[in-house]
Assembly symmetry: C2
DNA sequence: ATTTCTGCAAACTGTTTGCATCGTA
DNA sequence: TACGATGCAAACAGTTTGCAGAAAT
């Protein structure tokens, strides 16, 4: 945990940004809730518990900054809200998501399943891939059981 | 073209919706600009050229309806705007996109490159896939050339 | 002293909703 | 006549921006 904060601090410093208390509080929330896919508002409320003076605009600005530095990835599951997801340590590519259309849960796939597909795209379409977004929409394990029961 | 309109008309009727003049005008714009990835506003302006009385709300309502019937797919490339993309005739799955981070162009991949990945997800994660969204971000053919030149 | 960052409020953008009206079964 | 569909304007939600003050270098 602490070493990840340090790491992020270094990445900020490398681009001559500071890890201010507000930014640190935001990053800590992201670390603590790494499994979740929080919206800016969610993050704001959680940060506020630790640092009540913080403003929503600062959270947005911090998230934008972290996005630019590729420390977090901004995703959008189709509801109008942006969500922010910490990159896994050392991950080159953004991980994939499984969104359940029944219960709304979001599961993560950390394995890169797109290596082959990416090669095809680079060869056949001459497109130089830098990043990707892959989301599957469907029914999660739990909801499949429930559907069978009912 | 006309047979596709007819087809959509039938799909609407099957769910007891009507293909009103406004809806038809909207669908025609989508057909004419199938290659593009238009926002609601874009579509509104184009529809307005043919049917100046139409309101933006109607366009939104039409697009929502077409989305529900899976005639169009709603996508979001990360700028805050929803874009609407006609499903290819008979396509089961949504096609993929290549978004160029230099020039913003969007290319489509109609081939389903995810068959294998989907199998893996269904087997290893017990997740029943219904649909997917796959977008690659990177540098398109044209922009690669330009970058080399400069 | 200069520059960066913050908090607040106001502004903005894309989208949705309420409601009176219109069109058609 | 009844009901879905429309146009308009107002409402809304999420996000961004301008600005004056605070913090850090």
């Amino acid at each position: 945990m602490e070493h990840r904060i340090d790491n992020i601090k270094k990445q900020l410093h490398a681009q001559s940004y500071k890890l201010t208390p507000q930014r640190e509080a935001t990053v800590r929330v992201l670390l603590e809730r790494e499994e979740d896919h929080l919206s800016a508002e969610d993050i704001f409320l959680l940060v506020k518990e630790k640092a009540p003076e913080i403003g929503l605009a600062t959270v947005y600005r911090t998230l934008e900054l972290l996005s630019e530095l590729k420390i977090v990835d901004k995703i959008n599951f189709g509801d109008g809200v942006s969500r922010y997801d910490l990159r896994k340590e050392g991950a080159e590519h953004f991980h994939h998501h499984l969104v359940c259309i029944e219960c709304g849960s979001v599961e993560e796939i950390v394995e890169d399943l797109l290596k082959d597909v990416e090669k095809i795209v680079e060869n056949d379409w001459q497109f130089q891939v830098k990043d990707h977004r892959l989301t599957f929409h469907g029914v999660c394990k739990q909801c499949q059981k429930i559907t069978i029961k009912s």
